[in-house]
């Protein structure tokens, strides 16, 4: 595998990644918000979105991605996704239904679309949690440095030389 300094000398890779990443991210959002009509849903959307961002990191360096999505942000979003899912369930309880019974969300909508509203909300929670978790796992891997045993090795995937936890 090549460190990004050598990727920078590969115009084809850079141009293709630059063109593909926005399309992948857009497709991720489509899968997320169209999941109740077409195939897909929160999990698939989260995975696709994270994969698009990882391609960005592979091409332009993990430091560039960290400026867009800091590590701490992924940790917060992981929890936020789970909490959003749980909050929908608790909200249904406050509105008189059982935990996660979306029909109780009816008064929030104009018609009888409580189920629809609930599903969109929890799928969003799933998508956020999955995307953030995959990003966090990726960061955990690239931040690792080989144990100093004197042998020189290639820098971690997408990582700049000389970065990472000491």
């Amino acid at each position: 595998m090549r460190p990004p300094s050598r990727v920078r000398e590969m115009p084809i890779l850079r141009v293709v990644a630059r063109a593909l990443v926005p399309v992948i991210l857009l497709f991720g959002l489509y899968v997320q918000f169209h999941g109740d009509f077409g195939p897909g849903g929160g999990f698939q959307a989260g995975v696709i979105f994270a994969a698009g961002l990882i391609i960005f990191a592979l091409t332009f360096g993990v430091e560039a991605l960290r400026q867009v999505v800091p590590v701490v942000l992924t940790e917060r979003l992981m929890a936020a996704g789970v909490l959003l899912y749980g909050a929908v369930g608790v909200l249904a309880m406050f509105l008189g239904g059982e935990f996660l019974n979306y029909t109780a969300l009816d008064p929030l909508t104009t018609g009888h679309h409580g189920q629809h509203l609930g599903i969109i909300a929890i799928e969003l929670g799933v998508g956020i949690a999955v995307a953030a978790t995959i990003m966090r796992v990726y960061y955990a891997f690239v931040k690792r440095r080989p144990d100093g045993d004197g042998e020189t090795r290639e820098p971690a995937l997408g990582a700049e030389p000389g970065e990472g936890t000491p």
Partner: protein, 187 residues
């Protein structure tokens, strides 16, 4: 079995045999990605498009990247080690026996795509007939996963979250702890 499925199955078989025999871990990691992509193609042919999405993005994409990330921390080639005769033969015996048991098990399964299979006559017709009225969305899979089985899906999300926290603790260290030590630049 239709020809396209057969072709993908044979390619999949060839790929995994090569992966098992390779000593070059970089090539093995790339080939596992290709195996996942072939599996994703099979899922599309089985009309399981959402599973195919997941397999292509996780199996062929993210996990290949993680393999490569792990690989950059170790050496690129598998370590050669002397093995006794028993250690050389035992794995293939176990694999062949397990494979034979699995193939024996498939004899009781309905034929591929058989519309008379039990699974198509228990619950599925009710769900297909009733979901639109009860949930008001056309995607039955999403309705089942998100509403009928909302508890299960909540549990799965918690599992994913837990896995992420586990990896962060084991490999990366959580942000809070790093900020506590005041050495890192990011936030």
């Amino acid at each position: 079995m239709p020809p396209v499925e057969l072709l993908l199955m044979l390619l999949l078989l060839a790929t995994v045999i090569v992966v098992a025999r390779l000593k070059d871990l970089f090539a093995a990691a790339m080939l596992t990605g290709i195996a996942s992509l072939l599996a994703a193609g099979l899922f599309v042919l089985m009309d399981a498009v959402d599973v195919a999405f997941t397999e292509a993005a996780v199996g062929a994409g993210v996990s290949t990247v993680l393999f490569l990330g792990a690989l950059s921390l170790t050496s690129r080639r598998e370590k050669q080690q002397e093995r006794t005769r028993i250690l050389r033969i035992l794995p293939i015996v176990i694999v062949v026996a397990t494979g034979a048991a699995l193939i024996y098990g498939t004899w009781d399964m309905p034929a591929y795509g058989d519309p008379d299979a039990v699974i198509h006559h228990h619950l599925a017709p009710d769900l297909i007939a009733e979901t639109e009225n009860k949930i008001h969305i056309p995607n039955i899979v999403t309705a089942i996963l998100a509403s009928f089985r909302g508890y299960d899906t909540f549990g799965e999300v918690v599992v994913i979250f837990t896995a992420g926290v586990g990896v962060a603790l084991l490999l990366g260290g959580l942000g809070l702890r790093r900020r506590g030590s005041g050495t890192e630049e990011e936030s």
